[in-house]
């Protein structure tokens, strides 16, 4: 700690507002720099002490000093007359003249008692004279004992002073330890409260985390479901587009239709060919034929025939499991006219000239 820091903390120190590390550091600095600090502390302490004057005037009860006197072993105020001495003597009912006469005495009895003290004194004097030597010895012993007692008393005072100093230091230390213990207790209580708050917050955080995980899981499932439905919707849209194309073609007033059938009449397979000669587009719808799937490595192929010219490949396709299918007619080259449409079963991908047998044909 610097002396500047000491000076900054001093106004707070003298009114007892410092605490914790600041108080500890300041007191340590003061202990290490006692001579330099004491004058400055005393200067501010005078200011702090004057704040005490703000207390409204009040006086303690007289019993307080009596208790203090009892505690320090005095029993009463110095100079104060003993309690018995302060009690007023009862007033006599007899006249003062009578009392005076009684004190002075009268008659024969009084005469005898007036000579008794003189006689006793004479006897005592003889006795004292004879015991004078012994008395001097005893007096010497008494003086010696008194000196020894005074020496012991002096040592006792010195030890008592040391003891009171140590008691004072001990009392101050005890006060400081008690204050610090109280502050420590307060800190412990505050720490426990904060630990409890922290635990509560942690528990709440765990619950929130669990909730968040559940929500993320649900969101993931919904996203997967959405993706599946998007794929299905796209497939349906494609099918709708195809059906719309078929419907547009079928509804075209310029369309020409040819019925197709098994040339040998051995199967129930039937079909219809729709052809728009201006746009050169069309389709062939087949039903009740043996199913032809792409997975079989085969396909249905449409052929356009003009008179005795070789058939022209006009598109490929497949049926569903029940033998129904729609084949787009796409001419692979120009043709002078179209008299007939035929359908054959060919290798996957189609062939330029028919290799399989005709399963449907129509004019």
């Amino acid at each position: 700690m610097t002396h500047e820091a000491f000076r900054e903390m001093l106004p707070l120190y003298v009114i007892g507002a410092l605490d914790g590390d600041e108080l500890y550091n300041l007191e340590r600095y003061v202990a290490e720099n006692r001579e330099r600090c004491n004058a400055e502390i005393a200067e501010y302490q005078v200011i702090a002490d004057q704040i005490a004057l703000l207390a409204p005037p009040a006086e303690p009860s007289p019993a307080v000093y009596e208790r203090i006197a009892a505690a320090i072993g005095e029993g009463k105020r110095p100079g104060e007359a003993p309690v018995a001495a302060r009690v007023t003597a009862p007033v006599s009912a007899r006249p003062p003249a009578v009392e005076r006469r009684e004190r002075e005495g009268s008659g024969f009895g009084a005469l005898i008692f007036r000579f008794v003290p003189w006689t006793a004194a004479a006897v005592l004097g003889v006795l004292l004279f004879s015991a004078n030597g012994q008395l001097r010895v005893v007096t010497g012993q008494l003086e010696s004992m008194t000196r020894a007692y005074n020496e012991l008393l002096g040592k006792s005072h010195a030890q008592e002073g040391t003891l009171t100093q140590q008691q004072g230091s001990l009392a101050d230390l005890t006060t400081r330890v008690e204050t610090q213990a109280k502050e420590l207790d307060q800190l412990r209580v505050r720490n426990n409260e904060q630990q409890r708050d922290l635990e509560t917050l942690r528990a709440a955080n765990r619950e929130l985390t669990d909730e968040k995980d559940k929500l993320l899981q649900a969101a993931d499932q919904m996203r997967q479901q959405l993706e599946r439905e998007t794929v299905q919707t796209a497939a349906l849209q494609k099918k709708v587009d195809e059906q719309t194309g078929v419907l547009d073609l079928v509804m075209d007033p310029a369309i020409r239709v040819a019925a197709l059938g098994d040339p040998k009449g051995e199967t129930k397979g039937v079909g219809k060919a729709y052809w728009q000669s201006v746009k050169k587009t069309g389709l062939v719808v087949v039903s009740n034929i043996a199913p032809v799937a792409q997975s079989q490595g085969k396909c249905l192929e449409v052929w356009a025939i003009c008179g005795n010219e070789p058939p022209v490949a006009a598109g490929i396709g497949w049926t569903d499991d029940s033998g129904h299918g729609i084949l787009q007619v796409k001419l692979t080259k120009d043709i002078a006219c179209i008299d007939k449409f035929a359908v054959t079963v060919e290798r996957a991908g189609g062939v330029p000239t028919p290799e399989g047998s005709i399963i449907l044909i129509g004019q």
Partner: protein, 204 residues
């Protein structure tokens, strides 16, 4: 018992006497002890009563402090201040310990804060009549401070609260409380340092 003049002394003309008296107390002089008691018990009791607001407790504190002074007068370090400052320290530390033990600091500090909001320490006409010039000087100097400086000083001095506790009770940052106490004490020092004490020294 102490008269009005002697009860308001915190330093000055009688300080030299106080030191001699305390030395005599250290040598077990009971008359010196009684003289110190008669001179300062009123002011010290008033301080204890201000802190504790309870006569019986304040008298206990006064008794405890004087018994302690009797026992430890020999340990008084004259280099660190004046005897009355030492007595004030004995009274304050014990009164504040009592206060903490009965856990009414909040009530007292609220009372101090209320006094501060009302414009200063509550003083009755009787108090004013009994107050000495030195008391009025100190009271004027303290009341001249802005409430935000005076209130934390009184909370610390009479309530025994630390700067941290004051900041909590006033809901103010710790640094602000420190600055206000320091500024207020510096102003008091300018007003009272050698002022009220000096006047008391000149007062017959």
């Amino acid at each position: 018992m102490p008269d009005g003049q002697s009860r308001v002394n915190t330093s000055g003309g009688e300080t030299t006497d106080d030191r001699e008296l305390l030395r005599a107390v250290a040598a077990r002089d009971r008359e010196a002890f009684q003289e110190l008691y008669d001179r300062h018990s009123g002011m010290l009791f008033a301080l204890a009563l201000k802190i504790l607001s309870d006569r019986a407790e304040a008298e206990d504190v006064l008794q405890d402090a004087f018994v302690q002074a009797w026992k430890t007068a020999g340990s008084f370090d004259e280099g660190r201040g004046k005897p009355l400052g030492w007595f004030i320290m004995l009274i304050r530390s014990r009164a504040i310990d009592h206060l903490r033990s009965r856990k009414t600091r909040t009530r007292l500090s609220e009372s101090v804060a209320k006094d501060g909001a009302a414009g200063g320490s509550a003083v009755t006409p009787t108090d004013e009549a009994l107050a000495s010039e030195a008391q009025r000087t100190v009271r004027n100097a303290l009341n001249a401070l802005p409430p935000e400086q005076r209130v934390p000083i009184e909370m610390a001095y009479f309530g025994g609260l630390t700067q941290f506790e004051i900041a909590q009770q006033l809901s103010q940052p710790l640094g602000t409380v420190k600055t206000r106490i320091r500024t207020g004490m510096i102003h008091l020092r300018e007003q009272l340092g050698g002022g009220a004490a000096g006047r008391r020294e000149r007062t017959p």
